[in-house]
């Protein structure tokens, strides 16, 4: 029953978000000392914060306030930005990150699938080895190293692309590429091995035995079935792009969620960190839920169970 499958997944997702929020709440309470009394917190807002969070109340009540606020979309007040509501900060920075993230995902998926399929079809040739090498480099080179190198060589040395900010199309190229390479490499690698595994399947033999040409077999049977396992790595892929954005946005000075998160950590802005963590977590949980739903819709074995 497809509906039951979706409903189950939805319940799990909601519970997960709840547990995440709770863990984050208690984790922040574990910070030694008084986080709201830190040097970065302007004195005039300390009182506002105290009231907002009900810091004078017992812990359970604070928890209750926290959850209540959460349900109303209130993620708290930022410590270092003079009490700016966290939610506002997120809403301001999100469009930039989403734009960058989507570009990176499109690039990763299209290039990744392309290289994976091509490498599998030309197994053992130079093209295959080249892909394998690129994949290995792609998953080994840390995103900040890559970002730094790109920035230097393309931005400073060759002066081909702008090195910072996010204003026009050219300025999206390097960050999107830096952000996409790791995921692109992973997708290429999985697609290649999925294709190679599928090629040994019995139904491929059957397809050839029907008199289909290689091209027909590849496109109608091999690629279609090789794509299935790729869906399962889409969830983690989105997570990778999200965390990759921390570094890439910082290096390229892009005013997105990632950069705010990093500076929040550096400034010990606990409330902002907490709020953003819940946001990221909820977003990823939601993404995973959507991937699960998509999988249920596409795999006939689940759709018609």
């Amino acid at each position: 029953m497809l509906l039951r499958y979706i409903a189950r997944r939805l319940v799990i997702a909601i519970v997960a978000i709840y547990v995440l929020a709770t863990i984050t709440f208690f984790l922040m309470r574990l910070v030694p000392g008084d986080p709201f009394a830190g040097p970065r917190v302007a004195p005039e807002i300390r009182q506002a914060l105290r009231e907002h969070y009900g810091l004078n109340l017992p812990l359970i009540q604070q928890y209750g306030i926290f959850l209540w606020n959460l349900l109303h979309g209130d993620l708290g007040l930022s410590l270092s930005s003079r009490g700016h509501p966290v939610t506002d900060i997120i809403l301001q920075a999100a469009p930039v990150s989403f734009d960058l993230g989507i570009r990176a995902m499109i690039l990763s998926i299209s290039a990744g699938l392309f290289f994976g399929i091509v490498a599998a079809l030309h197994r053992g040739t130079a093209l295959d080895y080249l892909t394998v090498v690129l994949v290995l480099i792609g998953i080994s080179i840390p995103s900040f190293v890559l970002a730094g190198i790109l920035q230097y060589y393309l931005g400073v040395y060759f002066k081909v692309l702008p090195i910072a900010r996010y204003e026009n199309f050219q300025s999206t190229i390097m960050p999107a590429f830096a952000l996409s390479l790791g995921t692109m490499a992973t997708i290429a690698r999985y697609m290649r091995s999925s294709m190679l595994e599928v090629v040994h399947a019995d139904y491929i033999k059957t397809a050839y035995a029907k008199g289909l040409t290689a091209r027909q077999v590849v496109w109608r049977h091999q690629v279609r079935n090789a794509l299935f396992p790729i869906l399962t790595i889409l969830g983690p892929a989105v997570a990778n792009v999200l965390t990759g954005s921390f570094v890439v946005e910082t290096v390229f000075a892009i005013p997105g969620l990632g950069r705010y998160f990093v500076t929040a950590m550096q400034n010990l802005d606990y409330t902002l960190v907490m709020g953003m963590t819940i946001f990221f977590g909820a977003f990823l949980i939601l993404m995973n839920f959507l991937v699960d739903v998509a999988y249920g819709l596409i795999d006939p074995r689940i759709r018609l169970a």
Binding site: Y203, K205, A207, A209, K210, T213, P300, L304
Partner: protein
Amino acid sequence: MSTPETILAVEHLTVVFHTYAGVVEAVRDVSFTLGKGEVLAIVGESGSGKSVTAQAVIGLTPIPPGEIRSGRIDYRGTDMARAGIATLAKIRGAGISMIFQDPMTSLNPSMQVGKQIREVLHQHKSLSSAESIAAAVELLRLVGIPEPESRLVQYPHQFSGGMRQRIMIAIAIANNPDILLADEPTTALDVTIQSQIFRLIRDIQKRFGTAMILITHDLGLVAGSADRIAVMYGGRIVEEGLTDQIYYNPQHPYTLGLLNAVPKLTDSGDAPLRTIEGLPPLLINPPDACAFADRCPFVMKICRQKDPGYFTPVPDNRAACWLHHESAASQRAAFTSARVPA
């Protein structure tokens, strides 16, 4: 009895595989013919080369690591061993079809069953969608799938193993092929289903007059179905003859061993199963000797030194065994008396 017109002639086929361990000679100098409407059973244990032979006939030998080193596979004038990809694609699914062993994995799990049947129809004939749908329905009905119209749009996982094999049969006979290759079609099925499916294959073969090559490791299975039986061992055909002769008058120790291995109703309840001692040979650089020598209870010195070639001890038969040489009288007598009466 008039000999049926020959539709397939395999001549001196040798297929090798390049592996890490060396070059494995899976099929060594195999020759046989198949007449129109005739049923030939190729019997042998794992590794005897029977599946590789069938794959070569339909042109599905995986070319690296496989290689058709020599020989000719003649089907209506085309040499299947050397034909180009386009020619082979036209013949597969139309002139020569094949059903495989494991029905659970032989169908594309993400494609509707009806589409998979219609695929083979559209590949070789020009039909409209309506025509192919109707044809697919008829085919499903023919292979015994109830309510075929509604089942066309279902997926393989919604069918049992036996039914999936029926669908495979439907695909294979869709274009009324001259030759149907069945590679252990019932091995992976439940025992109770095996005979049903087997009967279905037999009925279809009789009805359409399709020539068939039936590959199996089970000599007991083909008694009532095959016209001729070829026994393979170590990549070679060690005996070939009419069905009755193979069962009642085997001329090769290996054939005898296979027959003896089938438990009989007259055996006492706790009698040990009769087996053939030893393991099949590794076919890397096989020596010029009889491949069965190490396991043969009637082995002679010459068996290890020279390959026997074929003898014809009885009509319509050939056997690759030194026992039939004029000088082997005493051992041959031992062989004859060792045969358990059927």
